[in-house]
């Protein structure tokens, strides 16, 4: 009896592998390894808890005065400046310039965006469950049930969230946005689900931004995080951000 069970298990295992391999070859593009596809490509299966999307930002490469990531984000997600009131327009990503006052007056610049925390305070405080975290670690707002109370805006230590004050038009169909809801960086979830990188990462001409699966030891980001000193901003809060910075 036990022998039958073993062979059945082995058979199921072999069939599953064969099915996965067939599916893999169908979608295989040049330069995409089967490993990447199985581990990171959430195309057909949806978000998987095996994946932890993250970003590594090299502040030594990030150029002062450059805002390519900010404008790429605005183009991709159709974020337009509000009607003459820039203080009210949404901000998903912003550039921060830092200067050390002591020593050699070292200057550095970095993009600040939603840190996609593993323990997000915005999700903790949300009274309706609109602020949520996907299985792959991306923190999003469900605008269908967001009541616009802005508790999450207050709770976020990175000031990553914005409130939409005015009616919006000409949204990207894959990025629905509207008045009365809170929003923040989605890590370009609509692109990530298609196997692409976020728009900011793609736009960075200085190669300062690296996007990938932190859980996959084969991925470039996991290897960089394992070999290069990087830090999380306000790590003392123990929110475990998915966005890490190098050189700060």
């Amino acid at each position: 009896m036990s022998e039958v069970t073993t062979s059945r298990r082995a058979f199921i295992g072999i069939s599953a592998t064969a099915a996965a391999a067939t599916a893999g070859f169908v979608a295989l593009a040049p330069g995409v390894k089967l490993m990447d596809l199985a581990q990171a490509h959430a195309d057909s299966k949806g978000a998987s808890s095996k994946v932890r999307w993250g970003m590594l930002i090299d502040t030594t490469k990030c150029a002062t005065g450059c805002s390519d990531c900010v404008s790429a984000c605005a183009r991709e997600n159709a974020i337009e400046p509000g009607s003459g009131r820039p203080a009210q327009s949404s901000q998903w990503i912003r550039k921060i310039e830092l200067k050390e006052k002591k020593g050699g007056h070292r200057e550095l610049s970095l993009p600040m965006l939603c840190q996609h925390c593993a323990n997000p305070p915005c999700v903790d405080v949300c009274p309706t469950g609109a602020s949520f975290q996907r299985a792959d670690g991306i923190v999003l707002v469900d605008r269908h049930i967001c009541i616009g109370c802005r508790y999450c805006v207050m709770a976020c230590p990175y000031q990553a969230r914005s409130f939409v004050h005015e009616p919006l038009h000409n949204q990207n169909p894959e990025v629905p946005r509207g008045q009365g809801c809170v929003e923040s960086c989605t890590l370009c979830v609509h692109r990530v689900d298609k196997g692409e990188s976020p728009a900011c990462v793609e736009s960075c001409t200085h190669q300062a931004m690296l996007f990938g699966d932190l859980n996959n030891p084969q991925s470039e980001i996991a290897q960089r995080v394992a070999t290069v000193a990087s830090s999380q901003i306000r790590a003392d809060l123990r929110l475990d951000p998915g966005v890490r910075y190098q050189g700060i």
């Binding site: 390519d68 000409n170 793609e202």
Partner: protein, 123 residues
């Protein structure tokens, strides 16, 4: 008194005549007509449930390859005139919703036009 009774009778007769003819059914202008998921009769009754179920699957679980998709509806059923499902009595969503007197608030956030090209990261 007689005059008032006559007036009431005339009013009733007029409203009955309007009811018999009914409100004209909307004539919808669709760029790419055809049946994608189910018959028009089924879709008229169940599209809201299908869309509500799928929106949670897509947003919360990242499942983006379902046949049920608001963007999918819009891509085919937008009008030839303005490329949108909104705009007038012959547009797919608006025409039917105003006929049925049901509020339509999807498009306060969603894009009602077909054929949008996302800009992407590269300039």
């Amino acid at each position: 008194m007689l005059r008032l009774a006559a007036l009431v009778l005339i009013t009733l007769a007029l409203s009955a005549a309007v009811n018999a003819a009914g409100v004209p059914r909307p004539v919808i202008d669709i760029a790419k007509p055809g049946q994608c998921i189910d018959t028009p009769e089924v879709m008229r009754r169940t599209h809201m449930d299908l869309l509500k179920h799928q929106r949670d699957k897509t947003m919360r679980e990242g499942e983006r390859h379902s046949k049920v998709s608001l963007n999918g509806c819009i891509e085919c059923h937008a009008s030839k005139q303005n490329g949108s499902v909104l705009g007038g009595p012959d547009n797919f969503c608006q025409g039917c919703h105003s006929y049925a007197a049901v509020k339509l608030d999807c498009f306060e956030c969603h894009q009602p036009k077909a054929g949008y090209k996302a800009a992407g990261g590269k300039r």
